[in-house]
């Protein structure tokens, strides 16, 4: 279970201070499928980065599975990222020199799995995303949608407890987007807790719960409902 209370994150550059998260509080229960929506720049990626221990908060308390992880050292955070968290980044963030197989292999390598286990996991997860036939292709030889699916395969190959997905369907057509959502729903049914950032209200509706982020804070406001517009209309 993931529990953030009064999290603050401030980005400072020479000229400006950006309060990316201010008094940000959220709890995600074990096995939940939560969709995060909000306008661009509202702090969704920042939230996921902190949730995934890629960044440390400047204030507040963050507990993962009951442990205070906001203050852990670098190596401990890397270990938790590796073992418990699957990331699907907003960009694909595949390593261009490595083929599909080796890209999916990256988190498994640091996990210390034996060769046979790694191979089985890679093949299974590529099969799940429909790319088993492209294992020896380089990312540059794949379409955007295919690259996104490689990124998904990489995130799920290690069977993480938490899956943090930042716009995983942003680069896909609506049919493919729905397939990916089906896949995520299936993964969630098998017990993985999922936090999904999306701009697509239709996809957001398929989650158990929606969190709306505005100006670095969780709002209770249900934007589409409040405006009285049907979510499907917003998509169109």
């Amino acid at each position: 279970m993931l529990d953030m209370q009064h999290i603050i994150k401030v980005y400072r550059t020479d000229l400006v201070e950006t309060h990316a998260l201010r008094d940000f509080s959220v709890t995600v229960a074990e096995g939940e499928f939560v969709a995060v929506t909000g306008p661009s720049g509202s702090g969704k990626t920042t939230f996921l980065n902190i949730a995934g221990l890629l960044e440390t908060p400047d204030g507040g308390r963050y507990q993962l599975d009951g442990d205070d992880v906001g203050t852990l050292g670098d190596d401990a955070r890397a270990g938790i990222r590796n073992q418990r968290i699957g990331f699907i980044f907003q960009g694909f963030n595949l390593i261009p020199d490595l083929d599909v197989f080796d890209n999916v292999d990256v988190p498994l390598r640091y996990r210390g799995f034996v060769t046979r286990d790694r191979r089985a996991r890679i093949e299974r997860s590529l099969e799940l995303v429909g790319l088993a036939a492209r294992m020896r292709h380089l990312p540059s030889q794949l379409s955007g949608g295919q690259q996104q699916r490689v990124a998904i395969a990489r995130a799920i190959a290690g069977d993480p407890r938490f899956l943090l997905a930042d716009e995983p369907t942003g680069n896909l057509d609506s049919l493919m987007a729905r397939q990916i959502m089906d896949l995520l729903a299936e993964i969630n049914r098998q017990g993985t807790t999922i936090v999904l950032v999306t701009h697509d209200p239709e996809l957001a509706r398929r989650a158990h719960r929606n969190i709306h982020v505005m100006d670095g804070q969780v709002t209770d406001l249900k934007p589409y409902a409040a405006r009285g517009a049907a979510p499907d209309a917003a998509v169109a």
């Binding site: 190596d75 990222r81 963030n93 020199d97 390598r109 640091y110």
Partner: protein
């Protein structure tokens, strides 16, 4: 993980072949320079008979002038060589496990069968020369004490001389003609190249050993002229070889094999006693100063490693350091250029240590490749040295230990160059580098 890191390193080096070659070239240049100088230095300064270092002693007696020491820079050093009569007297009387007295001469070998005669450099030595200095034989053996006493006309040939005279076959029992006299071949040496030529540093320390070896006694009975250095201090009339035999001039080398400290002590007191006796006869005007040197001490006393090559060594290492510094910059820009991939690895759970090791393996690989390149350059440098100084011939061969040392040095240089860049890259904060689009 090492196999994985090596594969990543290889991929990474392939990605930017130009920079990779530049880095390998830079380290290889430094390694080439250091291997060239290290080889010369190493061959100049190694003890070629280290296995017998502790039992062999070069013998010196101070028979020099009362007015000035043998070596004004090192007034405590006795002369490096001995007179004929002192060398002979000690060789005949001193208590030692083995003893060799020797000098150099030269003769003309006559191969016969219409082939032209040629000059051979000859070592006149007593029979212990061969066992004392671990001289390897291809055929036959050296002579014995009886041959020394009787001055038998027997000869031991070097491998080269045997090649020239007998085409390299077993020539034991055959006759070799030298200056019109016949000698029976009783031994042929295998390849023997002690570098430096420790047993006689006064006569070409980096020369090859002599072409031919004859019993020492023949030098007196046949009145063979000296071919090495002859140093004299006393105003004496030296009309001929007979005078030289009786003079205070030094031109003989004397070595003793002393196996225990007690034996060393006994030998030392014998030669001190000998000089004390000679003093009574009006010789040896200086204070008693007879020294025994192990091979190591003997090489050190003769400063076999020249100051020049020591300076060169320092300069070449400084050059290597400059090359390494250049590579630091190249590595830094390469590693930071690929920070995106590193950020992904970090985000997916690679620890700093794992990233650090991955990059060190990469620079280690660069170093190893540079080592091979550097050896090739070093070989070129050594060939060039050989062309410049023909007497460097035998100093300029790369041996196995130098080859391994060069590769180890290259890997070390690579690791040194990579230490800071690898440290920098392993501290990359993943979030900042991940693409969001």
């Amino acid at each position: 993980m090492l196999g994985y890191y090596l594969r990543l390193a290889w991929l990474s080096l392939k990605r930017t072949p130009a920079i990779t070659l530049l880095m390998i070239g830079a380290i290889a240049l430094g390694i080439g320079a250091t291997t060239t100088t290290l080889t010369v230095y190493h061959r100049m300064s190694t003890n070629p008979i280290a296995q017998r270092n502790d039992v062999l002693r070069a013998v010196t007696l101070d028979n020099w002038s009362a007015d000035r020491p043998w070596d004004t820079d090192h007034p405590d050093n006795a002369p490096a060589e001995l007179t004929y009569r002192d060398a002979l007297a000690i060789a005949q009387g001193a208590p030692a496990s083995r003893l060799v007295v020797m000098r150099k001469t030269s003769l003309t070998a006559e191969p016969g069968a219409g082939r032209p005669p040629f000059l051979v450099v000859v070592r006149l030595a007593t029979h212990d020369f061969f066992p004392m200095f671990d001289v390897p034989f291809a055929y036959g053996a050296g002579w014995d004490g009886k041959a020394d006493r009787d001055g038998e006309p027997v000869a031991v040939l070097s491998k080269e001389t045997n090649g020239k005279l007998f085409g390299g076959e077993n020539s034991v029992g055959k006759i070799v003609r030298l200056d019109g006299r016949e000698y029976r071949v009783i031994g042929v040496l295998a390849d023997w190249q002690p570098t430096p030529k420790f047993y006689d540093l006064n006569n070409g320390e980096y020369d090859t050993p002599e072409d031919l070896f004859l019993p020492f006694a023949l030098g007196a009975t046949l009145e063979l002229q000296p071919a090495g250095n002859v140093n004299c201090w006393k105003p004496e009339t030296l009309a001929g070889l007979r005078d030289l035999f009786g003079s205070e001039c030094i031109w003989h080398q004397l070595w003793a094999e002393l196996r225990t400290p007690a034996e060393v002590e006994r030998f030392q007191s014998y030669i001190d006693g000998y000089v004390a006796e000679q003093k009574k006869l009006g010789r040896f005007p200086r204070r008693i100063n007879n020294r025994l040197y192990t091979v190591d001490e003997w090489l050190a006393r003769h400063e076999v490693v020249g100051r020049d090559s020591r300076v060169l060594l320092v300069v070449s290492f400084a050059f290597l350091a400059v090359c390494v510094l250049n590579v630091v910059g190249l590595l830094l820009s390469r590693f930071l250029g690929a920070a995106g991939a590193t950020a992904i690895r970090r985000a997916l759970g690679a620890s700093r240590g794992e990233i650090f090791r991955q990059h060190l393996v990469e620079v280690g690989l660069v170093g190893a490749l540079a080592g091979i390149g550097g050896l090739a350059l070093g070989a070129v440098g050594l060939t060039a040295l050989q062309q410049l100084y023909s007497s460097y011939d035998r100093l300029t061969q790369l041996d196995l230990s130098m080859t391994l040392a060069a590769i180890a040095l290259a890997v070390l240089a690579g690791l040194l160059a990579g230490l800071y860049p690898a440290w920098r890259i392993c501290r990359v904060q993943p979030a900042g580098y991940l693409k969001t689009q």
